[in-house]
Symmetry: C2
Subunit: 223 residues, 2 copies
């Protein structure tokens, strides 16, 4: 749903190089010159930083149709403004993945060639933007439980597939990923998942999360 049908952009990327990557492979990090841009054809990618204290901080998750890294690519040297975020941002495959890769310069030429492309791109950026906004809302909850519940709802919005009266989150996420995403300990995620499972709000099998009733889940946030 939030992943927009980027007809023009997808067409452009499909003329690029196709890459097949395995889980845990790092696609790109922001220390590199930003000379490539990627479209995800298949599979899932996460972005994260490692802070000065050595903590992993998972910033975002990307699925089929997503384009990255937008911010470093669009902030070219030519305009004299550099990427504002401190520290290196890594993009790593969470699963096996198929990506299309294009040269940043070609990418910039392409988006400047056609206002329609600029528009598509704007929606990509906005979509990311809103994903962060929604995560940021989750992070501001006081209890681990609420943080997790809110983030599950956000992930359902973005990666949810309707399955018999419920939503299955198609992103294969580990407790570790989620805890790094929410700034909490891995064990806390396990414990809250245990509670939510016991109370019937979620069902899990290996790394799949099924949410039988989003409305009920939403009501949890009211307390």
């Amino acid at each position: 749903m939030p992943v927009w049908d980027n007809v023009l952009l997808e067409q452009f990327f499909r003329e690029g190089v196709q890459l097949s990557l395995t889980a845990d492979e790092i696609v790109y990090d922001s220390d590199d010159e930003p000379d490539s841009v990627f479209l995800i054809q298949d599979g899932y990618v996460k972005s994260y930083t490692i802070d000065n204290g050595g903590e992993f901080k998972v910033l975002n998750f990307y699925g089929p149709g997503s384009i990255f890294p937008l911010s470093p690519a669009l902030r070219t040297k030519s305009d004299g403004r550099s990427f504002m975020v401190r520290g290196t941002i890594y993009f790593e495959c969470m699963t096996g993945a198929v990506l299309y890769k294009r040269n940043t310069d070609e990418f910039l030429d392409y988006i400047n060639s056609d206002p329609g492309v600029y528009k598509e791109l704007m929606y990509c950026v906005l979509s990311n933007y809103e994903m962060h906004l929604s995560s940021a809302e989750a992070l501001r909850f006081r209890t681990a439980r609420n943080r997790i519940v809110h983030q599950l709802l956000t992930l359902a919005d973005r990666f949810g597939a309707p399955v018999k009266e419920g939503i299955r989150i198609s992103l294969p996420i580990t407790h570790q990923d989620l805890s790094d995403n929410l700034g909490m300990a891995r064990e806390t995620v396990t414990r809250e998942f245990e509670n939510l499972r016991y109370e019937g709000y979620i069902e899990t099998s290996n790394q799949c999360i099924f949410l039988p009733d989003l409305d009920e889940l939403n009501k949890l946030l009211e307390t």
Copy 2:
């Protein structure tokens, strides 16, 4: 200095209606039809939501040169996609403020008329995006102290004015605002400010924050 020189956009807004608002006035909320867009000429604005539990969550701060609300304005009904964020987002003046107001439709016409404008706008969105990214990093720290220190550095990046061997944050922020921004209790902010002041990392007078040494502050995050 992340606030970009938006020559074309500023020119456009200056042809609009000028508004003078007092502190605490709400400029816009996302329940309204998104029929207006604003440029801040002078003063400061914050955006926040109120969650189901009644907690205030301050999402972002805006200063002179900022344009808002970007996301609702750019997501017009015409493209069939609605604003993804749950709940209402309010934009409220933190100080007396002078704004320019333009009609959303005119705004959309204008940005479509010239690729140069689209580019400026893209930088506005990216700038916001990166601000959120940086805040999100702060929110993922485990301790209140680190969350506060990181956010002070982010605010210094965005609102810092160099003053004799240090940085003064020009945003007049209250403990309440900062605590709502970082998802913590007001008293916790007071206590950590007290500590940081005692240790010489910050100086405060009424609602002004002065950071004598950003590097030293940065080093705090390593523990």
